[in-house]
């Protein structure tokens, strides 16, 4: 490397869950980076290998663990010089602590990134409405961390998860954006009626159902928060990883 280039820290993106979420995270990192030349952009290596056992099924006890495949990705990223790793999937953070135990570099945890993004909002939310896969909700890692930070939070009830959230995520995966927006709005109404003043989009598919839903201003996209954390880490050795 040339010594006259800016010295940024290299970040590894662990993707494949699904692969579009890893592209979305890369695009958000690119858009968030102040740059006028190629070399102002941040060094990123992305492992986007989708042959990973299903995360939601594994958390429900219905399938093999994705941990070996995810750990292989982390090792590959470390070998490619990654100085920190970000996982472009909320649900996969169920295995974050086991993954960390085998990693040499820090993990930029998506819930820490969300907590930092909440802290920059003009008003502290009184009740967070958490939207995610049923794997993410069953795992509990989001709720535990939000509670540790002193936030009250609610999740959709089972009827709402079945009628709106699960189908909204599935609609995004099959590229039915109009259907996804309507379903997302149904879940958002349910949570706001129950007092949520901030909707936390804790699934990388849901931001694609947000624009046009009417809930943009009171929503927080976890993948966008993670992109902000990636940029902070890469641009500053003084940044807290």
């Amino acid at each position: 490397m040339e010594s006259n280039f800016p010295r940024y820290r290299r970040v590894g993106i662990l993707g494949g869950m699904g692969p579009a979420a890893a592209l979305d995270l890369q695009a958000k990192v690119l858009a968030l980076t102040p740059a006028t030349r190629d070399e102002d952009h941040l060094p990123v290596v992305t492992w986007n290998v989708p042959q990973i056992p299903d995360r939601v099924a594994a958390i429900a006890g219905h399938g093999p663990s994705p941990l070996p495949a995810i750990a292989e990705g982390a090792r590959s990223l470390e070998a490619a010089g990654a100085e920190a790793i970000a996982i472009a999937c909320n649900t996969a953070h169920h295995w974050a602590e086991e993954l960390r135990a085998g990693m040499r570099v820090p993990l930029l945890h998506i819930v820490d990134a969300v907590a930092e993004a909440i802290a920059t909002r003009p008003a502290r939310p009184s009740r967070i409405g958490l939207l995610g896969t049923r794997g993410t909700l069953a795992s509990g890692f989001y709720g535990r961390r939000l509670e540790a930070l002193g936030f009250a939070w609610i999740a959709p009830d089972e009827a709402c998860q079945v009628a709106y959230v699960d189908p909204a995520i599935a609609a995004v995966k099959r590229a039915d954006r109009r259907g996804a927006i309507e379903l997302f709005a149904g879940a958002a109404r349910h949570l706001t009626e129950r007092g949520a003043d901030l909707l936390l989009l804790g699934c990388t598919e849901l931001p694609l159902a947000l624009a046009g839903s009417g809930f943009e201003a009171r929503s927080l996209d976890a993948n966008h928060a993670l992109a902000e954390a990636v940029v902070r880490f890469a641009r500053g050795p003084q940044a807290r990883p």
Copy 2:
């Protein structure tokens, strides 16, 4: 890896030149892949590290070679299990043969991908108009390969390169899409008036200036052709790399 997953070959994308082109290539691979589930998508690892000496300046003899940085990327991708490598930059193919000499896996050369894409068009072009950076044009690798395949080709004259092509590429890099489209259309008119019946977009910035220019049907995007080659390689061990 689970044995019930489809067995696809892993492809490494060498990016950073600029980083948006590597995202564009990944997005085109994703869009070209027939998939209904995450695991139907292709395993891709992307090295997107933009701290690489300027390619156009190096070809003009005004700067250091980018080859050591590019070769480091290729080694990282091989270490991450890449079974072939695609470079998301036309100009960087100036160093393709030197790079190949140090690689253990095949390079999916962008001009081979373009040649395969031309072969699938309904009519064989009588004269190809080649648009690219002045580094790509000065290098000559595109012209030599097109001639070897029996194609006649022309490039913009210096006045057109200065007035339209260089500024169109710069306009895309600074996200001035409307300006880029007008400039691209100027270059496209110049080449079609000189008899080009196929415009070859041999620079990864130019496709972003194509939509709305009126030249869509008679253009071929080299990065799209490369994405097709990536999909062919990854999906078939029988596919010619």
